[in-house]
Symmetry: C2
Subunit: 411 residues, 2 copies
């Protein structure tokens, strides 16, 4: 597997574009994106488990029911969630506009929205700008950067990945972009993730690859414990790579599945590192659990602990807080448990087989100063192992998410 450039436009036959239509007040900020394949794609999606589903989620679920997709239209600046029937009409309207301007069937267009929740989505800016959006895209500009910019909200960095693998002797590419920020918590911690591939792959095989990839990436990511109503992961496969079709039973599914999972993990880690106000990526690995699922639950709980996250606000950290968080995640024997901190600067083990162990304060400080710190907990009770990704909790999280004085509306 090698890195390539181009994000969602790296695979053959995909185009993307993004522009400012006016949902966001700041005219410097793009807020409308389109991702498109001339050739109809096999497609699969996974969506939020939140019962207050955003209107875009409901429409995308309808579009994906037949496993086919031509395009995704997405906006930022408004999540179109908790908006009732008017919101649902607006989401359907977005799909219809995109379909009309690209000459495809509205039922083959997925919709995604992100931004403040509980605010009616203004349709006029979208009505005015879908046409130039589609025109720019069709004119052949590979606007993955522009599209990515247009799905960002409180994201600090653009998060995209593209890789190439070989299947059948043919180069096959997978590209992806993700929008993060806040409301990131299993299941499913992503807000928005769009994946493209030129692999030829059956809808069943695509579905079979997407589930574990999401399970081992976005479902292992936590920023703030809130599950968004708009979480959406969609993958589109247009078959332009010319490989012989990957089916659920072909050998090549393993190769594709592994690459897709790697792409999703890279995007999930990028989202964790870029959580609202975050300055550190915190990886939590739990080993010695009865099985991998139980290990994943432990890892997620530790990564989600406000006290663990607060401890990493500065260069400090607390091994005991991490152990306490494990303590309310499930059953284990404290006497068999050990904990290590690790980063590029080194490794210390302040807790070993149930008792505190001496460590060098200076070394600890150097470890915690790194931008990426690992917490490794061994429960000594089995072969289950899993990693979860989170970030530190800083003053900026609250500044970014506290309503400004006097503000009483929705966010």
């Amino acid at each position: 597997m090698k890195d390539v450039i181009g994000g969602v436009c790296a695979p053959k036959g995909f185009k993307a574009w993004g522009l400012h239509c006016g949902i966001k007040a700041d005219s410097e900020k793009k807020d409308l994106a389109l991702i498109f394949s001339e050739k109809i794609c096999n497609a699969a999606g996974m969506f939020t488990t939140n019962r207050m589903k955003g209107a875009s989620v409901l429409v995308s679920q309808e579009s994906l029911a037949d496993g086919k997709l031509h395009a995704i239209i997405a906006n930022s600046g408004n999540a179109n969630a908790c908006t009732g029937q008017a919101g649902l009409d607006a989401a359907r309207g977005m799909a219809e506009l995109a379909a009309r301007e690209t000459g495809v069937n509205p039922a083959d267009v997925a919709v995604a929205s992100t931004g403040p929740i509980g605010v009616p989505l203004p349709m006029e800016p979208i009505q005015n700008f879908v046409k130039p959006l589609a025109e720019n895209l069709i004119a052949g500009k590979e606007g993955h950067d522009a599209a990515l910019e247009a799905i960002m909200t409180s994201d600090g960095r653009a998060k995209e990945v593209s890789v190439e693998i070989e299947i059948d002797g043919k180069p096959v590419r997978i590209g992806g972009m993700v929008k993060g920020g806040k409301m990131l918590h299993p299941n499913m911690a992503t807000l928005l993730c769009f994946l493209t591939t030129d692999a030829k792959i059956s809808p069943q095989a695509l579905e079979r690859c997407l589930r574990p990839a999401v399970q081992n990436s976005f479902n292992r990511l936590t920023v703030d414990g809130d599950t968004s109503p708009n979480d959406t992961v969609i993958i589109m496969a247009n078959g332009e790579a010319g490989n012989s079709a990957i089916t659920a039973f072909s050998d090549e599914i393993e190769v594709f599945s592994k690459a897709l999972e790697a792409v999703c993990i890279l995007l999930a880690k990028a989202a964790a590192r870029d959580g609202d106000g975050a300055t550190k990526l915190i990886s939590v690995t739990v080993a010695g659990a009865p099985n991998d699922d139980i290990a994943a639950n432990f890892a997620r709980t530790v990564a989600a602990s406000n006290l663990v996250k607060s401890a990493f606000f500065s260069a400090g950290a607390s091994w005991a807080r991490a152990l306490c968080a494990a303590g309310y995640a499930g059953d284990f024997e404290a006497e068999k448990t050990s904990l290590r901190f690790q980063s590029r600067a080194g490794s210390i083990e302040p807790f070993k087989n149930g008792s505190p162990a001496a460590f060098c304060e200076k070394e600890a400080k150097e470890i915690f100063l790194e931008e990426e710190v690992e917490i490794i907990i061994d429960l000594g009770g089995g072969f289950g192992k899993a990693t979860a990704w989170g970030c530190n909790l800083t003053l900026d999280y609250i500044s970014m998410n506290g309503a400004p004085p006097g503000y009483s509306g929705s966010r």
Copy 2:
């Protein structure tokens, strides 16, 4: 039920004292407390569900096994948690010292510790000061204030309650104190709560009253989603009120049970309001759920949402964030759901039967400016109802819990 003064010393026959022994560096801050009844008490306790139990919890569970207690010795400044065998020896040592100086059996002494976790508990200050602590207490000083001060850590206010009820024509009193701050989350959100009563009541009846009281108070409280390893609620009943004994089957158990629950709810609300950095008490009531337990789970989830809590950082609030948090708490029909905000300043209903509804911004602002704000969600799906208590998330939570620069040890 009427309010009386005296906290844990309000019921007949209870004495308390607190002093600075030197666990805390600041000599102005008390850190060692003793609560004592000359007459042996029937007693019951509930403890953390965290698997990394503090040493004091293990020792108190042993002491309470026979339902009898003379005293509780408690320290702040060190939680004696994650401290291995040495910690367990220290906790047993505390019970023995208290027993020796008060002339009772060590098996009738409970122990509680609160403060930073993962730090060895220094025994010397305790060895030096249990004697003067017991002497002051026995000298007859009703030191409930001093004892309360000595269990506080990051608490902003002293939290105690005492009430009087009538049973059998006899005045019966219940007193309680609580230590809050951080690591407050069901089950069991309290850190430390000591309750005293002069009621004559069997150990079985006491147990039967304590469980629902805790269930409907401390288990409905959330400050930061972290469950402490040291959570402890202990009630001691010395029978000095002279009522005829309350048993699990007597009519009077209802009267006592209701009063105990009221005391626990007052203490739980006081702890929520005084969460680390908090400036507002947020009550979340969920109605229209299939049953009370499900309603309680919804209410706790909304009260625990970092985004809901952040929204109340300033005078603002977001109805949609509260709905979203409900959305990941369980099953319900969005179309039947309504949401109201309420405080002493008034009431607005920004979401009604699945759709946003207009409300007056000015009125909303006035409602949110109050120190106590209620969120009321009606799921329209049954008769289950419950309230949970939380607080807003402010910059101070992180300042208080972020390790200082360069600090790499435990907290």
